[in-house]
Symmetry: C2
Subunit: 257 residues, 2 copies
């Protein structure tokens, strides 16, 4: 039986999504709790990794149980029962929001047709204490209109190798399509939402970091356009910090998220 879960986590409580030897990751935490419930090791597959400090509002993961495990766990046959069982064991910084039965062919990573990310900025002299580690605090010159223009500029299909942190070994294909990139401003709060068919390693943080440098007047619009066209990163790549980034959701089933 395959189950699909939508989970959310506070990125500051974990050393990223993917399993590591020290065990303080989202995947490790989930696998320990699953192991306790199932009585055997269960492998969790996520829609993708998130860096340490990056938050998730709607990450998708899946896992598979053998027929033998299912028959031993009859009380959990109903997917909804998993919700209470998992949340009872998981820390409050990691929550299961939904549990659904998935088809045999479903894979959290390979079935995803796209993802939505959000990046939160706070543009004012003081960052309120409740936004500590939840937004990128910026003060001083920041041209919102330039950010808006850059959002429009990066929409569509581009080779984003200039905004990828894998300096050594780039993936074979570095063209990605951003279906929709929007800036929402509400007082000192700026939110950039990016919907795309896929994202390179640290691509959102590299893009937002570069957009902010242009908005601060530290790089020109032309220089940003060149970087997007020729794929050569700036000498100072200026990646936006992890704490402002939220994985909003992984999209399945539709061509466009």
């Amino acid at each position: 039986m395959k189950l699909r879960l939508v989970i959310a986590y506070d990125g500051t409580a974990f050393q990223g999504f993917q399993s590591q030897s020290h065990g303080r990751t989202v995947q490790d935490t989930l696998e320990v709790v699953f192991g306790r419930i199932v009585g055997q090791r269960v492998i969790i597959h996520g829609s993708g990794r998130t860096d340490a400090g990056v938050h998730a509002i709607g990450q998708t993961v899946h896992f598979e149980l053998t027929q033998e495990q299912v028959s031993r766990l009859r009380r959990l046959e109903e997917p909804g029962r998993w919700l209470a069982a998992l949340n009872a064991w998981l820390p409050p910084t990691l929550r299961v929001l939904r549990v659904m039965r998935a088809s045999k062919n479903f894979h959290a990573r390979f079935s995803a047709s796209g993802k939505i990310y959000r990046y939160d900025l706070w543009h004012a002299a003081v960052l309120p204490p409740h936004l500590h580690q939840r937004a990128w605090h910026l003060y001083g010159k920041l041209d919102h209109e330039l950010i808006r223009q850059l959002c429009a500029l990066i929409e569509g299909a581009h080779d984003f190798r200039g905004f990828c942190a894998n300096s050594g070994s780039l993936p074979a294909e570095t063209v990605r399509t951003l279906h929709r990139v929007r800036l929402r401003v509400k007082g000192p709060s700026l939110t950039i939402t990016l919907e795309g068919d896929g994202f390179l390693y640290r691509m959102v943080r590299m893009l937002v970091g570069a957009m902010v440098r242009v908005a601060q007047g530290k790089e020109s619009m032309e220089s940003f356009k060149r970087r997007l066209a020729d794929g050569k990163p700036w000498p100072t790549p200026a990646m936006a910090p992890a704490e402002g980034l939220y994985l909003v959701k992984a999209v399945y089933g539709k061509k466009r998220p």
Copy 2:
């Protein structure tokens, strides 16, 4: 010279507002930083205490500098300069939002004509990780309409001794006027805002705890009305947890906040 500050803090990072021997309170943290800047002990006065875990969006404090201290700190003569100096030394969970010069007679506590509190509830099966320690998580029966009726009921002047945690020594006067009490519902999020001329010890948490018990069907509306009329607390006082409570602001200068 007297200065008046508006500060905000994440209540989970402190053992309450008021100074204690262990020093992990808001007042102690402020006094240490002031002491470092001024070079001498400075006493901070707050508009009132908040319990451990209670948040503040807009707490007001004041302090006074001697003429000798002022002349030594000429670079800080401009109140605005204090903002940067203080925030540079304070932890990110405690921020100074505004600094103003105050009149000789101003006192953060005694000049306040009222206060505004907010209590956040989350009514759903799962509490999102980003609301952990920032809202009271409730699940199951909860009649919103009853909460709305209770909000209207407690508006006005009442003797709130039945909703005060000082069981031993009540203050001389236990009548308080709530100018405005409102419930705002937005999906699973419920926010109760209370504006009043003053609040007894833990009065908001006692009121919200009692309102929730009625909304859950564990106490009757009649029983709540009796408690408000005769001042006798229930055998199970059921105080709402600190984590959902926010001091929104202390009000000065106007008769009504």
